[in-house]
């Protein structure tokens, strides 16, 4: 057993064939993760007790001859913005350094019911705000593929552990690209479903109309299985969708002949040439697989960054109002009055990027600016949404780059917030429309840095997204 390259299927075979027990596997996975973690700083907390208890339960079920679940014994890492009962959940923030949630997110409950084992919690940008994982109060994460570079963000830790092999699969959260972009930077699969497909109960809120829980994996199949297990209506999240959940694994037939694939030419303008070359090779692979590739237009793309950063900061300024020193562990000791306590706790507790976004969000919602910024942005959001609806009248899937460039060096963009925001251009459009969108590995640059190709489909058409990604992966991606 090579712990760093295990798949969900291999774990299951090993357990059922009694090659190893879940407890043995989890002990080995924890040992390996602890040994490797200093190279990346990807894990913030290990949940050893909880992991071993869950593994023991799986072993008991197997010993009884029972069905241990589709994810039995699978070592799973969880981004530290998803709450875990009794296991510290920091959101990458000094404010929540000692916060121990009293309940589990619905996604965690579902994965544990399916047999998965939570190994620990992963580093991320503070409250999921960032594109490089450099905004964590607990230090940056290093990209396992190139340690002088960022893993992407905000789910940098969850991407890094899967790329590094210190978890088989992981959960991240994606608001404007925070799963797809780190997946592309680390050379793995990251799949964001339709908005509402997965319950957000227990996902610490950043921008509620855009937030998703989403899986990372080393293969399309494992990402499809993980998403299947967490999808579906939840009574604790009124925005979770009642639409039936398909078996995304069964959808991986390899047959994409005749599939109409659109390429939005707007997405190839400001692209680094080595990224563009890899994506163009990827498109050739799709043609060889029998896809009908055609150019399409998504006319409102140029306005997406402006639209997104108004909406997400407005929602964030409201969602982060709760961290005021009353309920969540951290309170500034230097305050005599309630009002001072709010101000000091927040001023001392939040990092620079959170403050910047709270400020921008408060500004665009303030009297006299609401119509000009927030309402205007919501209208532009509708136009971006309608671009996609029109495009999906002509094609079944859209392919595009994930990021304008591959993983950049630590510190390279840290002092220029606007440049950092602009790097989200290709991922935020799908987020604003609320459609399924994923990153699948698409070869490497000449310097050896991974490139990700993005696949987008209609609302609730995750099955087709995974089928295309799986066929592409089997064909060797852009390397073929």
């Amino acid at each position: 057993m090579n712990i760093a390259s295990l798949t969900i299927g291999a774990v299951r075979e090993g357990l059922l064939a009694r090659e190893f027990s879940a407890v043995e596997l989890v002990k080995e996975a924890l040992r390996f993760a602890r040994e490797e973690n200093p190279k990346t700083n990807a894990y913030l907390t290990f949940s050893e007790d909880r992991a071993l208890e869950q593994a023991a339960r799986v072993d008991q079920t197997v010993a009884r001859g029972g069905e241990p679940g589709p994810l039995a014994g699978v070592p799973l890492a969880v981004k530290d913005v998803i709450v875990t009962r009794g296991v510290r959940t920091t959101c990458g923030s000094k404010l929540l350094e000692n916060y121990v949630p009293p309940y589990d997110a619905t996604a965690i409950q579902r994965l544990e019911r399916a047999g998965a084992v939570v190994l620990g919690k992963t580093n991320c940008d503070e409250f999921a705000m960032g594109s490089s994982n450099e905004n964590s109060a607990f230090g940056p994460v290093r990209n396992p593929v190139a340690p002088d570079r960022v893993p992407g963000g905000s789910s940098g830790g969850s991407a890094a552990v899967v790329a590094q092999g210190t978890a088989v699969v992981s959960l991240g959260s994606d608001t404007g690209g925070s799963v797809r972009q780190p997946a592309s930077f680390c050379g793995i699969v990251g799949a964001t479903p339709t908005y509402g497909r997965v319950s957000r109960y227990g996902l610490v809120a950043f921008a509620s109309s855009l937030d998703h829980i989403a899986p990372f994996a080393r293969s399309v199949r494992d990402a499809a299985v993980l998403l299947r297990e967490i999808s579906g209506r939840d009574r604790l999240d009124a925005t979770s969708a009642a639409a039936p959940v398909e078996d995304y694994e069964a959808a991986l037939t390899g047959d994409v002949k005749g599939l109409r694939v659109g390429v939005p030419r707007e997405y190839f303008k400001g692209l680094a040439s080595e990224t563009g070359d890899a994506i163009e090779r990827g498109i050739e692979t799709l043609k060889r697989l029998g896809c009908e590739v055609k150019d399409i237009g998504l006319a409102s793309t140029d306005y997406a960054i402006a639209c997104y950063y108004i909406i997400c900061t407005a929602e964030a300024s409201s969602n982060l109002a709760r961290y005021d020193g009353v309920r969540y562990t951290c309170r500034s000791p230097n305050s005599d009055t309630l009002s001072d306590m709010y101000r000091n706790t927040r001023g001392e507790g939040f990092g620079a990027e959170c403050k910047r976004r709270i400020m921008l969000g408060t500004y665009v919602l303030s009297a006299g600016y609401y119509d000009a910024y927030y309402l205007k942005a919501q209208k532009v959001r509708k136009m971006i949404y309608e671009d996609f609806v029109r495009a999906f009248g002509e094609v079944d899937a859209i392919v595009a780059p994930v990021s304008p460039f591959p993983a950049f060096r630590l510190g390279e963009k840290l002092n220029d917030p606007l440049q950092m925001y602009l790097s989200d251009i290709y991922t935020i459009t799908g987020s604003l429309a609320g459609i399924p969108c994923m990153s699948v590995p698409c070869g490497k640059t000449p310097a050896g840095l991974p490139v990700g190709m993005q696949i987008l489909t209609r609302h609730f058409d995750e099955a087709r997204m995974f089928r295309l990604a799986d066929a592409f992966e089997r064909a060797g991606g852009s390397a073929a």
């Binding site: 916060y99 121990v100 009293p102 309940y103 339709t194 509402g196 109309s209 009574r235 925005t239 969708a241 009642a242 639409a243 140029d302 306005y303 960054i305 402006a306 639209c307 950063y309 108004i310 300024s317 109002a321 005021d324 020193g325 009353v326 309920r327 969540y328 562990t329 305050s335 005599d336 009055t337 309630l338 001072d340 306590m341 709010y342 101000r343 000091n344 927040r346 001023g347 620079a352 403050k355 910047r356 709270i358 400020m359 921008l360 408060t362 500004y363 303030s366 910024y373 205007k376 942005a377 919501q378 209208k379 532009v380 959001r381 509708k382 136009m383 917030p417 606007l418 925001y421 609302h459």
Partner: protein, 99 residues
Amino acid sequence: MRITEKEVRYVAELANLKLTDTEVSKFQHDLDEILEHVNRLNEIDTTGVEAMAQVLYEAEETATLRADEPWEPLGNEAALANAPLKGAGYFKVPEVIKR
């Protein structure tokens, strides 16, 4: 300048954020740059476009409702477990108005 230092201080008040003078001037610069970019939205004609607050899809009107059944609440002790200061089953805070 699209945003003045005075406006930055006003917005920080609204947001209950205590900022240092260095932060005020840094955020004035950053917000100015971001607002310049964001102002490009004025180029786009949105006459007659409906505002989109949420991703909505075809579903029955009652699809988001659930049965009104009671279940076990979190409980007072668990809900207060992370309080910086608590007493008698409540969150405690500094005095609201100075006498």
